[in-house]
């Protein structure tokens, strides 16, 4: 997993609540057996005017000019500003894969769906929960100024706005550590092999039918 330390990034707004993972990456792209290459199909049904299928050459498809990520001012954005309950619905990890492949490393929203939130951390994306009012303010500032950028510093858990205001955010210690160091979860857990085996021995006594 790629490390995450500090990011200075252009901000793109996704101004609707309850954006679900079906919208983030429609199901036809879930047929892939790979982990990469989902970026061109991020928000496929909103982003293009035609119907997307896996294997298409996306560079020749008609873009929906009304879709926010197609506007020239948001090209190269790496921070997504979103509304509440972002990432609800299906557990598909293809959603963070697509966001990451497109270039997003930070998502800011008042709230996230649990499974999606979890999946982000495993893919080098930092999801940040902020108070609804603060998010609202960011939407307004972002709309008002072309090329609006934020600086996100994970170590100090702060977001700095262009006028120098600093916003603190919370992040779970364990997840922060994994992101900062690009640590592999499985490797970390396997350090506790003895604990897992001890648990199994004890559990086998209590509930032998689970090991039959």
């Amino acid at each position: 997993m790629e490390k995450f330390t500090v990011l200075n990034g252009l901000v793109a707004p996704m101004d609707r609540a309850n954006v679900d993972t079906d919208a983030i990456i429609p199901k036809q792209f879930l047929k892939s057996i790979k982990r990469s290459g989902f970026g061109p199909n991020l928000f496929d049904e909103w982003r293009y005017l035609d119907h997307g299928e896996p294997g298409m050459d996306n560079t020749h498809r008609p873009l929906n000019p009304d879709f926010v990520l197609n506007q020239s001012r948001y090209q190269g954005a790496s921070i997504l500003l979103a509304r509440k309950n972002f990432g609800c619905g299906s557990s598909r990890e293809h959603a963070p894969w697509a966001l990451e492949d497109y270039g997003f490393r930070v998502i800011i929203a008042p709230s996230f769906a649990d499974i999606f939130f979890n999946n982000c951390f495993k893919n080098g994306i930092l999801p940040i929960k902020l108070d609804e009012k603060i998010v609202d303010g960011l939407f307004q500032d972002n709309a008002a100024s072309d090329g609006y950028q934020l600086k996100v510093d994970l170590e100090s858990q702060t977001i700095t706005t262009p006028n120098g205001t600093s916003i603190r955010f919370d992040v779970d210690e364990f997840r922060k550590d994994c992101l900062l160091n690009g640590l592999d979860d499985i490797g970390l857990t396997l350090k506790h092999v003895d604990d897992i085996k001890a648990y199994e021995t004890k559990r086998k006594q209590q509930a032998p039918w689970l090991f039959a």
Binding site: N18, S91, D114, N118, I186, P208
Partner: protein
């Protein structure tokens, strides 16, 4: 000290170790695997030269991509075929128990787990699929995980977890003709699609204890649509009776020991919940969703809501967008909405009791000389597993459906998410027994209304939504 909730108990018996900050390693007893969310996990294992920790806990089947029509020629769509073949190869390589496409036990993961007795009370159950919450109906801790976590559980038998908060949803007795699906849709209408975020929900109250185990599965299945990764129901005699004698269920001495243990899988009377929601069951009518989120739901006797009456700007905007996508006018009576397609199936409503409930409506139509309305282009019945299909055929349900003009299909996810050939065309309107009415869920531009199996069958016959209680009274 206050007593423990069911969730507290399930959590406590599965914690392997706790880290500072409250993160824990949680031991997993059952891991269900399907073709869509597993290829990258198996690939990860291979790259890291890791082996599955306990293959006896893993059960795999293809469901999302399989065709529901004749399968003797295999899967036509080459990309879907590769995904199923990848699962075939992975289970072979790692030695995992597998119900392949042409095995009678194949079906939707959330149907076959309980059907096989692979889901047991007191277990932790995970699957790379958000509707894993279904298995909580057995007094199990069950939730969906992402593909990285699928790999993590395969490699370590554990998940890195933080304990969720406790929520209890208590529903009092419901009226006749109100089903599990109506109950859960009404709950989501009440708490909202994010109402359960961060919580494990225990469903309780007379309405829930009156339900069959299959009905409880329908309710828990949709916990995730209320934002909760896990939904659960306490164990009672029905739970134990349901599990008894199933292929993977404990036998002999183990069975007796297990039953003793399972009887304790209820919340203590003095347990404390962080949040309690009480719902008056008598107020619940058969439900129909009108928008593009499961919380956008009303009783069949109501009208499509008017965004003008909504004061919250973000909500109002969402309602307007939904009405536009759904091609609906505010204030239209629900019973005046005509449907083009009817889908009876999915892990929410494809078990034998669901098919029976739909068949009662179909049979009544046939007896009265009626059929699926001419205005309905397609009415599909897709059983949840090969065994459900077999059972339904033994009971003659397939004949009833076909006589009434429904199509009788092979088991799988089908039009619930339209990854196979079963999908809506743009602007087609569907009465569906599935669990998600998101934009494009059943096909790009398709419009989904979530309902119970009986309500779906009734809509197929009438050509528009009707209160099924008027038909079957």
């Amino acid at each position: 000290m206050a007593g423990k909730t069911l969730y507290d108990k399930l959590w406590d018996t599965h914690v392997v170790r706790t880290e500072e900050g409250g993160t824990a390693l949680l031991y997993i007893d059952r891991h269900l695997v399907h073709e869509v969310t597993s290829p990258q996990a198996f690939e990860g294992l291979r790259i890291a030269h890791r082996k599955p920790w306990r293959i006896d806990t893993v059960l795999a089947t293809p469901d999302h991509n399989v065709p529901t029509t004749d399968r003797s020629m295999g899967i036509e769509d080459p990309i879907a075929r590769i995904q199923v073949e990848t699962l075939d190869a992975n289970v072979e390589e790692f030695g995992i128990t597998y119900f392949p496409m042409n095995d009678v036990r194949q079906g939707i993961v959330h149907v076959i787990g309980p059907e096989e007795g692979a889901t047991l009370p007191g277990m932790t159950v995970v699957c790379g699929d958000s509707h894993t919450s279904t298995h909580g109906a057995f007094g199990a801790l069950a939730h969906g995980i992402g593909t990285s976590e699928v790999e993590h559980v395969l490699a370590t038998q554990c998940l890195v977890q933080k304990k969720m908060k406790n929520m209890q949803v208590v529903v009092s007795k419901v009226g006749a003709g109100v089903t599990a699906k109506d109950i859960v849709l009404a709950i989501i209408g009440e708490i909202g699609t994010a109402g359960g975020t961060g919580y494990a929900i225990e469903f309780a109250g007379e309405a829930i204890s009156d339900l069959s185990i299959e009905g409880r599965m329908t309710v828990c299945n949709m916990a995730i649509e209320g934002g909760a990764r896990a939904g659960m129901v306490a164990v009672d005699n029905k739970t134990i009776e349901y599990v008894k004698g199933r292929p993977f269920a404990p036998k002999g001495e183990n069975w007796d020991m297990a039953v003793e243990d399972w009887k304790g899988l209820t919340s203590d009377p003095d347990a404390k919940f962080d949040h309690v929601v009480e719902i008056d069951g008598r107020q619940i009518q058969p439900q129909v969703t009108w928008g593009t989120s499961p919380e956008m739901v009303v009783g069949v006797d109501a009208r499509v809501p008017d965004p003008e009456n909504e004061s919250d700007a973000v909500k109002k905007d969402g309602m307007e967008r939904a009405l536009q996508y759904m091609g609906l006018e505010a204030n239209t009576p629900i019973t005046e909405i005509a449907v083009d397609v009817v889908f009876i199936g999915s892990c929410t409503n494809s078990r034998i009791e669901d098919l029976r409930a739909a068949a009662v409506v179909a049979q009544k139509a046939v007896t009265e000389g009626r059929k699926v309305s001419d205005t309905v282009k397609q009415a599909l019945v897709v059983p949840g597993s090969g065994l459900v299909k077999q059972q339904a055929e033994e009971e003659g349900l397939d004949k009833i459906f076909v006589a009434a003009g429904f199509e009788w299909r092979e088991p799988g996810c089908s039009m619930c998410l339209a990854m196979n050939a079963d999908r809506l065309q743009p602007d087609e309107r569907c009465a569906s027994t599935s669990n998600r009415n998101f934009e494009g869920r059943q096909g790009q531009g398709g419009r989904t209304h979530l309902v119970s199996p009986a309500m779906a069958a009734a809509a197929a016959i009438a050509g528009h939504f009707v209160d099924v209680r008027d038909l079957t009274a």
